[in-house]
C-alpha cells in the first residue's frame, strides 16, 4: 500500500512538471504580449523591452521555465536585478521556496495569492459538498427505493430540470430574487470564520453553496438512483432477501453499501475540482476565491498566477485521485493496491 502511494505520488510529480511546461508553452504560443499589456497604453518600444526584461519575459522558453522550476526549490527574488539589490534592496520582493512565482500584475507572490483566495474556494466547496452529498444521495436513494412512484418521477424530473439550468442562471436567480428583490438574506459577502464566527461564515456561504450544490445535486440524484437500482438487482441482494433479512438490512447494509462506492469516487474527484475554484459561482456572487483569481489572471495575461493555479489545481486532482483509490481499497476488499 505504502509503496503504491509513493509510486502514485512520483507519477503525480512528473505530471505536474509536464503540466507546468505545457502551461508555459501555451502562454508562449499565444500571440499576446504580456509586457505590452503591463506597460500600458503610452508605451514606447524601448519601454516595452524594458518591461519585458523586468518581468522576466525576455528570456527564452527554457530559461524561463528553468527559473520557475528552480524557484520552487530555492525561492526567487523579484525583480532579479543585481544592481537594484545593491542600490535599493527594499524594492526586492523575496519569494521563499516553494516559490510558484511572483505576479507583477497583482504585486504579490503567487503563494500569497493562493493563501488569500483558497480559503474562500475551500469554504464554498465544503459547504456545497455537504449540501449536495446529503441532498443528492438521500434523494437518489429515495427515488430508487420508490421506483416508479410519483415521488420517484417527481425527483427525477426535478433533477433533470435543475441539471439543465446553467449554474450562472441559478446563481443570478438566487441573487436577484432571494437577496436583492425580496431581501430575505443580505447580498452575500464572504465572511471568514475569524470575522463572523461559524454562523457568520456559514450564512455568508448559503447562496453560493446552494447554487453550486443544486447543479451537482441534480446529477447526484440521478447517479445515486441508477447505482442503487443497479445494486438492488444484484444477485447478492437477492441472496440477502433469501436469507430472510428484513428489508431495512437488505437495503442499507447490502444494496447501498455497494451502490455508494462509485459515488465516493465521483464525489472525491468533483470535490477536488471544486477546490480549485468554482469560476462561475465565484464570479456571480463576487467571492474572491481561486476561480475569480483565475479569471482575472487570464484577463490580464498574468502567467505566474496562471501557472501557479494550474499546478495547484492539478495537485488537488492528483491527490484526490490517490485518496479515492486508497479509499476504494478500504471500501472494496477486492481491490488490492499493489
Amino acid at each position: 500500500m505504502v509503496a503504491y502511494i509513493i509510486r502514485r505520488l512520483i507519477a503525480g510529480v512528473v505530471l505536474l512538471v509536464v503540466m507546468s511546461i505545457v502551461t508555459f508553452a501555451l502562454f508562449f504560443a499565444s500571440p499576446i504580449d504580456p509586457a505590452q499589456f503591463a506597460c500600458g497604453k503610452n508605451c514606447s518600444p524601448a519601454m516595452k523591452a524594458q518591461t519585458a526584461a523586468s518581468m522576466g519575459y525576455d528570456d527564452n522558453f527554457f530559461a524561463q521555465w528553468g527559473k520557475f522550476a528552480k524557484g520552487v526549490f530555492v525561492g526567487r527574488d523579484f525583480p532579479d536585478d543585481p544592481k537594484l539589490k545593491i542600490t535599493a534592496p527594499e524594492t526586492i520582493a523575496h519569494c521563499a521556496a516553494p516559490c510558484l512565482g511572483y505576479s507583477k500584475e497583482r504585486t504579490s507572490t503567487v503563494t500569497d495569492l493562493i493563501k488569500q483566495t483558497m480559503p474562500v474556494s475551500l469554504s464554498i466547496a465544503v459547504v456545497a459538498f455537504a449540501f449536495w452529498i446529503i441532498g443528492g444521495v438521500l434523494l437518489g436513494v429515495i427515488a430508487a427505493l420508490k421506483r416508479g412512484t410519483l415521488i420517484d418521477r417527481g425527483l427525477v424530473g426535478l433533477s433533470l430540470v435543475l441539471y439543465a439550468f446553467p449554474t450562472f442562471f441559478i446563481g443570478l436567480l438566487l441573487l436577484k430574487f432571494v437577496a436583492i428583490q425580496w431581501n430575505w438574506v443580505p447580498v452575500p459577502e464572504y465572511t471568514p470564520i475569524a470575522e463572523g464566527g461559524i454562523t457568520g461564515w456559514l450564512s455568508s456561504l448559503l447562496l453560493p453553496a446552494i447554487t453550486l450544490a443544486v447543479f451537482f445535486m441534480a446529477g447526484y440524484v440521478r447517479m445515486t438512483r441508477a447505482f442503487v437500482l443497479e445494486s438492488l438487482s444484484e444477485d447478492y441482494v437477492r441472496t440477502a432477501r433469501a436469507k430472510g433479512l428484513p428489508k431495512r438490512t437488505v437495503t442499507f447494509k447490502h444494496a447501498l453499501r455497494a451502490a455508494l462506492t462509485p459515488i465516493v469516487t465521483m464525489a472525491g474527484l468533483d470535490f477536488a475540482g471544486l477546490m480549485g475554484g468554482a469560476i462561475i459561482t465565484e464570479s456571480v456572487f463576487n467571492y474572491p476565491g481561486l476561480g475569480k483569481l483565475a479569471v482575472a489572471a487570464n484577463t490580464d495575461f498574468d502567467l505566474p498566477t496562471l501557472v501557479g493555479l494550474v499546478i495547484l489545481l492539478a495537485s488537488f486532482v492528483i491527490i484526490a485521485n490517490i485518496i479515492v483509490d486508497v479509499l476504494y481499497a478500504v471500501i472494496d476488499p477486492r481491490v488490492r493496491l499493489s
Partner: protein, 355 residues
Amino acid sequence: MTDMHSNDGPYLSVEDLVVHFPTADGIVKATDGLSFTLGRGKTIGVVGESGSGKSVSSSAILGLHRGSSAQVSGRIVLGGTDLLMLSDEEMRLRRGKEVSMIFQDPLSAMHPYYTVGNQIAEAYLVHNDVSKKAARARTLEMLERVGIPQPDRRIDDYPHQFSGGMRQRAMIAMGLINDPGLIIADEPTTALDVTVQAQILDLLQDLQREFNSAIIIITHDLGVVAEMADDVLVMYAGRAVEYGPTKDVLTHPQMPYTWGLLSSVPDVQGDTNAALIPIPGNPPSLLNPPTGCAFHPRCVHRSKVPADLCTTTLPELLPGSQGPGHTKRCHLADPDELYRTEILPEIMPDLIVED
C-alpha cells in the same frame, strides 16, 4: 415430530402456480399453471432451458417476488401452510429458516464487501436470538461440516479469496445453517469444474440425509438429475411438459422436448459414438408464446400428429404409457415407439442392445 401437518400429505405441494409479470409490452407468462409435490427427504429435479420458468417458480416458492410487480397465484403449501396466503413479514421469517436457496454463481451471489463468515452468520442471527459469538461458532461448525479446510482461518476471508468450489460450499453452509425443511438449489454446480461438481452433489446428498430435507434442484443438466433426483419435472415455456420418477423419465421419455434435452447432454460415460444433437431453434417468447403446443415450432415430429393439432391445441398434462405417475404434455400417439426406433439409435447406440 411436533409438526402436525407433517404426515397429512406431501411436505411441499405446488398447485397451479402462475407467475406473470406485467410489462409495457404485455404480460410475460413466466410460469403458467405449474403443479408438483415433494416429500421430506426427497429430491425433485426441475429441468429446462434458460427462460423456461424454472428459476421464477422457485423464487415464487421463496416469496422473492413480493414487493415487485409480479402477479403470483395458485397454492404453495409447505408443511400444511399456504405460503401465498402469508403476510410479507410471516414469509420473511420463513425465508432462510424453513425454505432456503442455494444460488448459482456464488461469486455474484455473495456480497463482495463482507467476509464469508459475516454473511453466513447473518443468516443465522436473523432467525435465532443468539449472540454474535454463538453465531460465529455455529458458522465455524457449518463451514467445517461443508468441508472448508481450516475454517477458523477462512471464516474471515472475502468471497473473492475463495475458490469456486469453496464458495459453493460456503453457500451451502449459508443455506443449511438453519436446518431448513426445503432447500432450493438453483444450478448449484453449473459454474464449477466437473470434479468439484461431483463433490458438491455428494455433499448435498450427505446433508440431505443428515437433515432429512426436501430438495428442489434446478438444472439443465440431466446428469445431475440422474444422480440426485427422485422425481424430475421438465419445463418448457413456463409449463411442465413432462413429470415423473427420474428413472422412468430418463429411460422412457415421452415428449420430443425431453428427447432433445437427452440428446444434447454430453455423455459423461464416455461414449464417443454418441451424437450430440442440439435442439433446433430458440426458446419461445414468454410474451407471445406459440399457439397450441408451445414446443411446436421446434418439434421435428409435428408431422406425425394428425391435423393441425400441435399448432392449435395445447395438449393436457396426462399420463402416458408408463402409468399414472408419469405425465406428459404431447399429442404424439405412440412416443415410446418413436423414441426407441428413431431417437435412441442416434443418441445412445450402445443402449439399444440392453433395452
